[in-house]
């Protein structure tokens, strides 16, 4: 039991973080907060990848005379790519939010929905 809860605590943290992020995406009406949720969601996955690369008692995977027993570097490399993707997604999302603010005048989802329902033309 201890092994399941304490021994694998990083996996528990990843699942908890992922669900927190997912909750924010679903429940928060503010577009920026949704993006924060997406970021937490993605970061949880990064944590998962780093966890699977860890070798017990392993050192950093660098050229070093004491690095006989080292961590698996591939998940680290993979996750560097995923971090870049995450940053780009966030950047595109922020650009969209700025445009939405310009043209709808709000970044609250429920207000945007009301605006879309009323067929009044938009002021140029």
């Amino acid at each position: 039991m201890d092994e399941l809860i304490l021994g694998k605590y990083n996996y528990w943290v990843y699942v908890a973080l992922m669900m927190i992020g997912f909750y924010a995406v679903i429940a928060k009406p503010n577009l920026i907060k949704k993006i924060i949720g997406v970021n937490i969601f993605q970061t949880a996955v990064f944590l998962f990848y780093i966890s699977i690369g860890k070798v017990e008692g392993g050192t950093a995977p660098i050229v070093w005379d004491q690095a006989v027993h080292y961590d698996n570097p591939i998940p680290h490399v993979l996750i560097l790519t995923a971090i870049v993707v995450s940053v780009s997604t966030t950047a595109v999302a922020f650009a969209l939010i700025i445009k939405i603010k310009e043209r709808f005048g709000t970044i609250e989802e429920d207000q945007i929905r009301d605006l879309r329902r009323t067929p009044t033309g938009e002021e140029t």
């Binding site: 996955v45 993707v85 999302a93």
Partner: protein, 500 residues
């Protein structure tokens, strides 16, 4: 089995569009028209290369390229067999058609200073789609999924209405969650096998099929890909995105975006995992069959209720994706052939319909279904193309729609699931309802007052020819169905050959 042939062709299919995408804004500084020209030339070159590649694949079975000459499973491998060979030809063909169509359409819908970036994003989306199809490395696949998605979000946001922005934002949120699920699935597979190469995974996975980690990975892949595929009930992002995107973008996304996702689903379910896993270990084919049947019926019914033309076409896509999934989940050769042929056929039909819708917007500004009343007298050629594609969607004989429905129906009978015939027939009836209404209005209704004042005449040649070509193929490949069907049959054999 023959040794795979090493050639740099698969790499060129990704590298040429990628390099050109970066160059496009620079070239546009020399002369404005160079941006559109670059996109046309690059897609045309890719199409020719894809055809050469398919020919080579037909000869030797499998063509590979090892990036940096690292042998798989250590390096990234690009691997093309019959299945992705077909999809590559399809995607690059639609790329050519849409980039020719785009020049005039984009000029009328998007501000001029944004044109170079539009074409840069267009080529990036093209790169992403080609990359997803060509790669044999599952992490590389994730990277290409994100490349195509991010450029897709940007392109959708370029639509004229402000709703394009919210549509793009919603797609971004859902798309990112879908892609992150895929990433997590890849992590689970890597954790158990230590490899990212698809062929290597296929070898290492079978002893691990009972592992809960592998089951989780499979579930994550299925859900993540279903979002990208817009499989009912995860289709909510699609109608808005297709409706508000610029016409050229809707055509490209509708014709290739979901098809590429369908390809990935087939690749993961039937190559990375063995078909027997899908059938015997977890009841995924059953679940997806039910979802696909609901998608077919719900998509068609929702389409009937729409007043906006592009939104109607988008909901009809939800149903058509159901057909593709349905055929594949029968897990027999005939059904799979039907699914693969339908990937090609639906791209042609929906491409034609969206191109025609784009032409209507260009010429008359009409976006509603009702606005089509009397359009047959104003734009006879475009409307003829629209009608051909609409008939094909219904599944009238001598059109491509009939060919794929025929194979899907045979596949359902082969699998002993006659009740799926009811679904296929019912949805043909529903398709007939909403397309007949439109065709009736186009030819037999009086034009509205606004339309009356529009002089009769066609759109420029560069928009008309792509529409005619895709509509022509809807008939040509319906009459002369041997070529696509024989290729699809070979690919189906690769996917479900060993199923029992």
């Amino acid at each position: 089995m023959n040794e795979p042939q090493l050639t740099p062709l698969p790499l060129l299919l990704v590298f040429i569009p990628l390099a050109s995408a970066v160059m496009t804004p620079l070239l546009a500084r020399i002369h404005r028209s160079l941006a559109a020209l670059t996109a046309q030339v690059v897609t045309a070159v890719s199409f020719v290369l894809a055809c050469v590649l398919l020919d080579r694949v037909a000869e030797v079975g499998r063509v590979v390229y090892w990036l940096g000459n690292w042998e798989p499973p250590f390096g990234i491998e690009y691997s093309v067999d019959m299945l992705n060979g077909i999809v590559l030809v399809l995607v690059s063909f639609i790329g050519v058609v849409v980039s020719v169509f785009a020049r005039e359409s984009v000029a009328s819908e998007i501000d001029e200073e944004k044109h170079p970036f539009f074409y840069a994003m267009f080529l990036l989306l093209f790169t992403g789609s080609m990359g997803i199809v060509v790669t044999g490395d599952i992490f590389n696949l994730y990277v290409f999924v994100e490349i195509s998605s991010l450029s897709g979000y940007t392109l959708i946001a370029m639509g004229r209405n402000r709703e394009a922005l919210t549509a793009s934002y919603n797609y971004l949120i859902l798309g990112t969650i879908g892609a992150t699920f895929i990433l997590l699935g890849i992590g689970h597979l890597y954790m158990m096998t230590g490899t990212l190469n698809m062929a290597d995974l296929a070898k290492l996975l079978p002893p691990l099929y009972k592992s809960r980690v592998i089951l989780t990975a499979f579930a994550l892949f299925t859900v993540g890909l279903s979002i990208k595929l817009a499989l009912f009930p995860l289709h909510v992002w699609m109608p808005n995105a297709y409706t508000h995107a610029p016409s050229a973008v809707s055509s490209l996304l509708a014709a290739t975006g979901t098809k590429v996702a369908a390809y990935v689903l087939l690749r993961v379910m039937f190559t990375v995992f063995h078909p027997n896993f899908d059938l015997n270990v977890i009841p995924v084919t059953r679940i997806l069959l039910v979802l696909a049947s609901i998608a077919i019926l719900a998509g068609s019914m929702l389409a009937i209720a729409q007043t906006n033309l592009k939104r109607m076409l988008a909901y009809s896509s939800v149903g058509q994706i159901g057909y593709i999934v349905l055929g594949a989940m029968l897990v027999n050769r005939t059904g799979m052939t039907g699914a693969l042929v339908h990937i090609v056929n639906h791209a042609l039909m929906k491409g034609t319909l969206f191109l025609a819708a784009g032409a209507i917007v260009y010429k008359t500004g009409v976006e509603t279904v009702e606005g089509l009343k009397g359009m047959g007298r104003k734009m006879p050629v475009t409307m003829a193309a629209f009608t051909v594609a609409a008939l094909s969607m219904v599944g009238v004989p001598l059109t491509v729609g009939f060919v794929s429905k025929w194979y899907l129906a045979l596949g359902a009978l082969d699998a002993g699931m006659w009740y799926l015939l009811v679904v296929i027939l019912a949805s043909s009836g529903l398709n007939a309802i909403y397309f007949w209404r439109v065709v009736d209005w186009i030819y037999f209704a009086r034009p509205s007052k606004e339309l009356e004042s529009v002089p009769a005449g066609e759109v420029p040649w560069s928009m008309l020819v792509p529409t005619i070509v895709t509509a022509g193929l809807c008939i040509l490949l319906g009459v002369q169905a041997d070529l696509p069907v024989s290729l699809a049959e070979q690919a189906a054999g690769l996917l479900v050959g060993g199923a029992h």
